[in-house]
Symmetry: C3
Subunit: 294 residues, 3 copies
């Protein structure tokens, strides 16, 4: 048994990728999950927990969550920034990390009211966009597409502040939960609705306007995959009021889908489309052995 | 900090969607998860937990679970029905909710033996339908498609009883877990098998017969999305003994796939098909740069 | 209430599929999850937990995890082997199960250093293959495709040792988490990278070479589904350096995709392809109502 232990520890020394010797210094997935839970329950108070929320208690309840959130965010963001410093200029003890971690945390906390207003528009979009949606409460309590955009809107703020690791960890946690893979870099407008959601992929440099609706299995991706082009815009721009039906694929950093367009199911697009375009798959030919009444 | 707290609480007053002031009155996702866990372990006793199940203990074990289940169901259904009352006729204290919550709970509990028989047929269907399936135990312990249909069969009973929120919450919890999105309204026959499952979407007004087999990425959906048509049949009817291979899309409330038909992979159908139809995608033309032996 | 309990217990007697009378004797999903957690944190020490990992503590920390892992694996594998005996030759008390459970456990534990080396190559493949990947830490902390291949590499070892149930339970747990469905039987080479991952299906008898890259929604599956053919090779062979883009489907046990080939998005292939092939979907005809500037 000791032999096995030693053999394994040996590979840590030979083969690296070890989360480092003096205590953990990478963000903790456990804390990220708690951050997400607290953000969700601050945006939709009372929807997750069993808590009481009468007028006396509410400022106390929310205050307590914000305390925890501040603690977690500051701690995890600091580790991420320090990690960034190590990556860039091997500087283990850059002193700005600590304070800019606090700055970024309060930047995000101060954004909550504004982000919440945008999220309530996403709820509206789901309610008006899905015939099966019976109430905004149903949307908030059950729609995976809503959960994905809620967390994305926070992760994107941290991405803009160039916080390493955490934004991606937030979106990949939601990806695991919902099957919706939005890179935190994607810029997404208001009234955004993803129906069903499973299999949706939205790339890092995607730009999406207002009032866009996307269905399951849609890919908004890169035309080809070249590591060197990491810095250029690799993903499409989708203008306002566009609907993209299930299984459609739209590729390329220069591709622009003009406003008010509809992209039909399974359509595969690698070039720009004018405003008001309607693009449907021409029913492909089938090999049909027609059935006879039995 | 207090400032931030107050700003956030302000948005609750301005912007609503708050789970309301005197204690929570929406179903709790936590309780829904416990309801699902208990239903699963009653249907397949001993498959989830570490519990002992000898003849003396079993009636005690199952009895205890039923107790918890009754408590949770009654409590959550009551909140859902009260929510429905508020939606319909702003009546906060309709007194029938409480007792009809009990009725509905016992309706569901009394259905368990019958539903369990149907579920055992679903296990048979998976075992006989998948060459990779080695035993019914493997199917029960690991197949996401089975878990999805098990919970759907219960959620559908609550949907028929017009319980708001809970049926959808049950299926969306399973959707998150399995990537299979079945609306609780869908009517599904016996011997139902979904292989792999990820990306399957089955709409609210779908009707599926007996002995139907569906593969990953299949959509059974609406032809167009019009909020006004929420009441009409928007999704297809699939008759007995139909197989639908991966990535196929079948749309429209008037679409009927006749019995004994086979719908090939990636096929896109918006109209009815006769019995015994075989419909395959005609191999599309490819741009091929043939490889030469290197 | 007692009535309901009795009715349900009655169905256990009539309808079987009960996890059996003298204590559980099927692998526990809870223990499988703990096994997976411990394997992941041994492969990537410090990436999951909050634990301290300085030089003094590390051998203790890893040792403790190995203890737990040994205990869980031996116990769960023994139950699985005994289950296999019951299936094959109704022998409840075959005495070899116990010791071969220990053998298999130590076989797997001794494999950890070797498997870890291969997994570090998978991390390299993700980092070099994805322009959005910023660091190997990001890949390890967030990429679902990496988590899926990590667990598959262990499950495949147990599959080769013909342990029933557990390998499939491991991969289906990860399938639920990531939307990636790899059968534990699949043989997969080094530098394997799945980007985005959701909807990927890789069948039991698939063989994949080195340096293969696969995108979301790709199916590597069987041409037709015949229970009788469970023993033959039903799934394709993918040679070295092949890239398969999103939504492509490759079917059939005789299908071989030659080395250095590229299979484009949504391509549907049921036959072999030479080395260095480039196969893209010919842009299908669309029904386009061109938009006019509004």
């Amino acid at each position: 048994m000791d032999q096995i232990t030693n053999n394994i520890i040996q590979t840590y020394k030979d083969k690296g990728v070890l989360n480092h010797l003096e205590g953990p210094n990478l963000p903790s997935r456990k804390s990220i999950r708690r951050i997400i839970r607290n953000l969700e329950s601050i945006i939709f108070p009372g929807f997750e927990s069993e808590e009481d929320l009468n007028n006396e208690l509410i400022s106390y309840t929310i205050g307590a969550k914000l305390q925890q959130l501040t603690k977690d965010l500051t701690f995890e963001i600091r580790k991420s920034l320090k990690f960034g410093c190590r990556m860039k200029h091997k500087d283990e003890n850059c002193h700005i990390c600590a304070e800019s971690a606090e700055e970024t945390t309060f930047y995000l906390l101060n954004k909550i009211p504004e982000i919440r207003e945008v999220i309530l528009l996403d709820v509206e979009a789901a309610l008006s966009g899905d015939p099966a949606a019976k109430s905004s409460e149903e949307v908030i309590l059950s729609y995976p597409g809503l959960e994905a955009i809620v967390i994305h809107r926070f992760a994107h703020e941290l991405y803009k502040k160039e916080v390493p690791l955490i934004p991606r960890m937030m979106n990949e946690y939601i990806h695991r939960k919902t099957g919706i893979d939005i890179h935190p870099g994607a810029r997404i407008g208001r009234w955004f609705f993803m129906d069903h959601g499973t299999g949706i992929v939205i790339g890092e440099t995607t730009i999406i306007g207002d009032n866009v609706r996307i269905y399951q299995g849609v890919t908004i991706g890169a035309l080809k995959v070249i590591k060197e082009e990491a810095e250029v815009k690799r993903h499409p721009t989708i203008e306002d009021n566009v609907t993209i039906y299930s299984g459609a694929t739209i590729l390329g950093g220069k591709t622009v889908i003009g406003r008010n367009s509809i992209i039909g199911g399974n359509v595969w697009i690698t070039g720009s489309q004018k405003e008001n375009s309607r693009i449907y798959l021409k029913p492909p030919e089938y090999i049909v052995r027609k059935g006879n009444p039995s």
